[in-house]
């Protein structure tokens, strides 16, 4: 595999994780832990697959059906995250437990609906492989080397990262949101509605995670099955922490982790002559992440009120 091949694989692997991590960033910067990203991704993947299969059956083209599916996935992710928002913000339940419940519920409901709609444990493939090149922007996608960046999935992720940074650091909304995650009672005393802010943040995280689930399905399984997401949501959470809750750092962390992962999985094919056991390649991403965490953890700044339900009475 040449540099191009590695690059394509890194982008494919990292894109969904980065967009989901951006969702997590909104939620966690507002002070709400969102372990439920995995479940929200599952919902997104299911909705996209089901929509695309049904619309293609009605004669719609692949790309249009996937686009509509993704829009619905974003909506479904936002709606589904309301469960987490209601439990952890309004009811002040433990945020971790509520998130775990979301994960279990998402898989159960998605598989149940798959069973009803398609009479099987997993759907038919929606046809990613045969349409993979249709994600490339015509003309620009043919340019050697940099052509791989003109994939609308990659562009979508890049746009989300830039917009996240802009909203977080250049808009009043972002400032208020971050204030709710650092010191909610101070924010409240300045007239910010903490409950409303946190609700908005969790819903945004649900929408982005829904989109990320769709991208994950589009990049790999190409159909909905119990293993379509397979822990990607937790990887996105790890990248969020690794990137210290900052948009561009999170993106870099995602690409770095993606690169190590691709080299780890394909190592024995990349360097066939070297007498290195495959287990070493497999361990690479995790070893480097631990090293990086040791080096950078000094500056790590988790939002101060992360995981603490806001209670007005405790002000």
């Amino acid at each position: 595999m040449d540099i191009m091949g590695i690059l394509v694989n890194v982008l494919l692997f990292a894109s969904p994780l980065i967009i989901v991590a951006m969702g997590g960033l909104f939620s966690e910067r507002s002070g709400v832990v969102n372990i439920g990203l995995e479940g929200l991704m599952i919902v997104g993947a299911f909705v996209t697959t089901a929509t695309s299969l049904i619309l293609q059956d009605m004669g719609m083209s692949f790309l249009v059906s996937v686009l509509i599916g993704m829009v619905l996935a974003v909506i479904a992710g936002g709606l589904f995250s309301l469960i987490h928002a209601y439990a952890s913000i309004s009811l002040r339940a433990n945020q971790t437990i509520s998130g775990v419940a979301l994960n279990m519920l998402a898989l159960g409901v998605s598989l149940y609906l798959t069973q009803i709609l398609f009479k099987a444990k997993e759907t038919e493939p929606i046809g990613i492989g045969q349409h993979a090149s249709s994600f490339l922007i015509p003309g620009l996608g043919d340019i050697p080397v940099i052509g791989v960046f003109f994939d609308w999935r990659v562009i979508l992720v890049a746009v989300v990262v830039v917009v996240t940074w802009y909203v977080m650091y250049r808009r009043p909304f972002g400032l208020r949101l971050r204030a709710c995650g650092e010191h909610p009672s101070a924010a409240d005393s300045m007239g910010i509605n903490v409950t409303k802010m946190r609700y908005q943040a969790v819903i945004i995280s649900g929408m982005l995670a829904g989109a990320g689930g769709a991208l994950q399905m589009l990049a790999f399984a190409g159909k909905f099955a119990p293993y379509t997401i397979n822990g990607a949501g937790f990887m996105a959470l790890a990248i969020l922490v690794f990137g210290q809750w900052r948009p561009f750092s999170v993106m870099t962390a995602g690409l770095f982790f993606g690169f190590l992962r691709v080299v780890g999985v394909t190592g024995s094919s990349l360097f066939p002559g070297l007498p290195i056991p495959e287990q070493v390649y497999f361990a690479l991403p995790y070893i480097f992440v631990i090293i990086a965490l040791i080096l950078f953890s000094r500056n790590a700044t988790a939002p101060k009120a992360l995981g603490v339900p806001y209670d007005k009475g405790l002000r």
């Binding site: 492989g129 349409h131 790999f220 999985v265 094919s269 495959e278």
Partner: protein
């Protein structure tokens, strides 16, 4: 109060989502004096329509029921691994013969079979175990498959079809069933062309599609044109990668596993990237065993290993992508030789095939 309400409704939704599904068909029942009056199947978490082991076994049960009037049958789906034992016991109380497909049942079946000595059990792809030790039980029949024979034929097809003389294998978790496929594959390929290179890799997962796609991407890029994949969900990623390359004009074949995966590899106009599949005929094995129980010569307390002679493993009857008549003839003649015992294929125990090695 609000909290209580929310919790209760959440709990309700959960129960709805996780309730075990089952089905029974009554057409004989109690008091029947048939040798096998009722057959029950317990699935693993894959579910009854997993297009694989569970579904294949159930088809075998249905085949038996169709041929033997008055036999009652039904299945229980296992929703989580901790339900395996209760489900086995429930089925044992309801049915005379209980069929359990897959290695996940090996411990549960040992416990259940001891508690229900009146019930007969059939376990596929595994033997009953207690702790780590295998146990022999007088009411349990174990059926294993000669995966290496199916792998051998797949290797022949691959070696005959490849243009680069380098082919690949991607396995899931290295368990005996998967490693036997690999061992047979290498031997089959070498029997056609002793100089062929076979790259063997394991994903160490049955579910991670990302590993499948990345490994396949690297292997095809390094010049291999055929990959045999025995790795469950990992294979989905491999097949998607092959479709991607094929539609872009690069030749990339996949050899499927366990069942005919031709439909999974379709990329339009009925064409598929699946060259052939190394198939285990689970249904046929179940049907044969049930018939043996009926005839009173059941292999209880034994481990039966079914191979090509029993038509339990092999290639699909139809292989639209094998166009070369010479290859088809060779498969037919090698199949005959294996049945006659002229060709023996070594299992993984005698022909160890290791991870990340080129043979």
């Amino acid at each position: 109060m609000k909290k209580l309400l929310a919790l209760t409704s959440l709990a309700l939704v959960f129960t709805l989502g996780l309730t075990a599904c089952g089905s029974t068909s009554d057409n004989g029942g109690e008091g029947s004096d048939l040798p096998v009056a009722s057959v029950g199947l317990v699935t693993d978490t894959g579910g009854i329509n997993d297009k694989s082991f569970n579904q294949g076994s159930w088809e075998g049960v249905e085949e038996f029921v169709a041929a033997n009037e008055g036999v009652e049958s039904g299945y229980l789906e296992t929703q989580q691994d901790s339900d395996i034992l209760p489900n086995l016991d429930t089925s044992a109380a309801r049915y005379q013969v209980v069929v359990a497909p897959g290695f996940k049942f090996s411990e549960g079946i040992a416990v259940s079979a001891k508690q229900n000595p009146e019930t007969s059990y059939v376990i596929l792809d595994a033997t009953p175990t207690e702790g780590d030790a295998e146990v022999t039980l007088e009411n349990v029949a174990s059926i294993l498959f000669r995966e290496e024979q199916a792998g051998y034929l797949a290797g022949i097809v691959a070696a005959k079809t490849t243009k680069s003389d380098t082919i690949g294998f991607i396995g899931g978790i290295p368990v005996p069933a998967v490693m036997n496929f690999a061992a047979g594959y290498v031997q089959g390929a070498k029997s056609v062309n002793p100089d062929i290179k076979v790259d063997v890799q394991y994903a160490n997962s049955f579910t991670d599609t990302t590993i499948g796609k990345q490994k396949a991407s690297a292997m095809y890029a390094s010049g291999m044109d055929i990959i045999f994949v025995a790795a469950g969900g990992v294979g989905t990623g491999v097949i998607e990668q092959a479709k991607e390359l094929t539609t872009q004009g690069t030749e990339a074949w996949v050899i499927g596993v366990d069942r005919d995966q031709y439909a999974d590899g379709e990329y339009g106009d009925g064409k598929s990237v699946i060259l052939t599949s190394a198939v285990k005929h689970v249904g046929a094995a179940v049907n044969q065993t049930l018939n043996a129980i009926k005839d009173g010569n059941a292999p209880f307390g034994q481990v039966q290993t079914l191979g090509i002679s029993e038509d339990a493993v092999g290639l699909p009857a139809e292989n639209p992508n094998i166009t070369d008549q010479e290859t088809l003839d060779l498969i037919a003649s090698e199949t005959e030789k294996m049945k006659a015992g002229e060709v023996t294929v070594k299992t993984n125990a005698d022909f160890p095939v290791q991870d990340a090695k080129i043979y």
